[in-house]
Symmetry: C2
Subunit: 326 residues, 2 copies
């Protein structure tokens, strides 16, 4: 038996800004705890307020330094901030502060900042599964802005962009990032581009490269968003005003044009769909255990049925099963 959870009390505490309650709720999400559905139902009425900013970039461009500088700038406006650091290569996660991220320790004692690292390879798989639900927890807990930071590897930047209201793509001079950007398709997902470490040689060339590639990719109508390219030196908090102005501008554009709601509808549809698929897959797994699938497989191996007819039977079994499970 799983430990009983007083969900209403936890949600109330989280909304009152108690970090432990927030941590516990995110853990329930990550563990796919039996109380997960109750948690999600209790959070639902309180969601939709947080602006979600995705932050991605190759290793070494200064993601956590930039995230820290952004947290500081946002805190200067007295906003409540959540930070989710998602590591697509790590099997580890937890409520611990990111001890290896020195800059983030500036905010460790700030009650207006909640920081959490998450592994993406949970037993239910993928960045896309637990992260949107952790976002919901932070949103319902009253965060005004949630920063989701992930290393730009494989599909992770595309996944993060699908979850964010605003996607910030970080680059650094002299890393061949221009080409990397084009390859990885981050040009399509970036709403704001940041050339960090702009005190290094080649910063202006990198800015030009990105601007050029943005213009190449353009088939924009008037009123479309044109991603700005901002130079920063996050370690010295240089360029943060311009970056904040770009983020504000994008947020305003999203609201005025109806794109905010459009993005969120698409995000919710993706989330619903992936939960539904997991449920159907689990039911199939149950059937496999229950040997129903074994009998169908034997029919196919013996040539009495073809795999499509067998799949029809499987779908029928899954769906009739659904009617019995509440």
């Amino acid at each position: 038996m799983a430990r009983a959870v007083d969900v209403p009390a936890l949600v109330e505490q989280a909304r009152a800004g108690r970090p432990r309650a927030v941590a516990r709720l995110i853990s329930l999400v990550e563990d796919a705890h039996p109380a997960l559905r109750e948690v999600m139902a209790a959070l639902a009425p309180h969601t939709g307020n947080a602006h979600v900013i995705g932050i991605t970039g190759s290793p070494g461009v200064g993601k956590s330094t930039s995230t820290s500088a952004l947290v500081k700038a946002l805190r200067a406006r007295d906003l409540r901030i959540g930070v989710l650091a998602v590591d697509p290569s790590s099997p580890f996660s937890g409520g611990a502060l990111l001890g290896d991220r020195v800059r983030m320790q500036d905010h460790a004692l700030d009650p207006g900042v909640y920081i959490r690292s998450m592994a993406s390879r949970g037993h239910l798989g993928g960045l896309s599964w637990a992260t949107p639900q952790a976002l919901r927890v932070l949103d319902a807990a009253g965060c005004d802005v949630v920063l989701v930071e992930t290393v730009g590897v494989g599909q992770s930047e595309v996944e993060i962009a699908a979850m964010a209201d605003t996607t910030l793509v970080l680059l650094a001079p002299g890393m061949g990032d221009g080409i990397q950007a084009a390859k990885a398709g981050i040009l399509e997902v970036g709403d704001v581009f940041v050339v960090n470490k702009a005190d290094r040689d080649g910063a202006d060339a990198t800015v030009r490269d990105i601007r050029h590639m943005i213009s190449l990719g353009e088939s924009r109508s008037p009123g479309d968003w044109r991603p700005p390219v901002v130079k920063t030196v996050a370690s010295r908090e240089e360029g943060m005003d311009e970056l904040m102005a770009s983020l504000d501008k994008h947020q305003a554009w999203l609201g005025e044009t109806g794109h905010l709601r459009e993005r969120r509808l698409r995000r919710a549809a993706d989330e619903i769909e992936s939960i539904a698929l997991v449920q159907l897959r689990e039911r199939m797994g149950d059937l496999r255990h229950g040997r129903g699938l074994d009998e169908l497989a034997a029919q196919v191996v013996d040539g009495h049925q073809d795999p499509y007819a067998a799949a029809d039977s499987l779908v029928a079994a899954v769906t009739s099963d659904v009617d019995h499970v509440q």
Copy 2:
């Protein structure tokens, strides 16, 4: 409208050994043609005879040369042979002979050999989708042995092993293959290991490495299969007798121990399950088009429902839909 297909006539012609009919049936599979179900139903009674041999290995180990030498050795026994060359990196496929594979042209005019290249990145995605059904076509067309060749990249060797009765892993001296093998997990999937290009320096060391790693991985019971390691020089057809003997031995072992049926049952179960998932996914896609999902997404964005409750509704809609679609 899709072009009408006379499925019974096609199947009859394929069973009579007409290459064009075989090619057309595999194309119907690859294109997910509306007649696909009828094709699969018509093939089902004629399947289960072909022994499926998967052939995998890193680029440069001599896969197509080895496949060609194997085809020659099998043809000497007057067996009918099918060859599926699956390229997991290529978006192209077709009925054309593999023009770039010089050795395979030895068999281009042999009516007892059917050769087909397949792309794995079809619009329905993955090695795992179309390949098992192409195997069914070749099986029903009377092939005694089907060789499925794929480059060992990513998950492809694991996927191929899941489809094969016997999996042959090719290596070559001096490519650090021992370590590669351990990393990629091909030690677990290989039933027979072949060190090809065995006239090169280091062949014996490679054989020793593989044998050593096999013995390390062993927690075998008496009667379990112990993968042999065979040396060949496929370009000169050296070592083919020993390789054929190993393949015969494995086939005999599979039959005697009941593992053949076990593997085929598991393969059929995987196939049924993946077809069922594709069907359910398609129905969800239809709902997305039909705006049913959009309404659920709006409920979630507005905080009136949580994503789990919405997913329940989606699952219910998908399953009731299933009852109406035959």
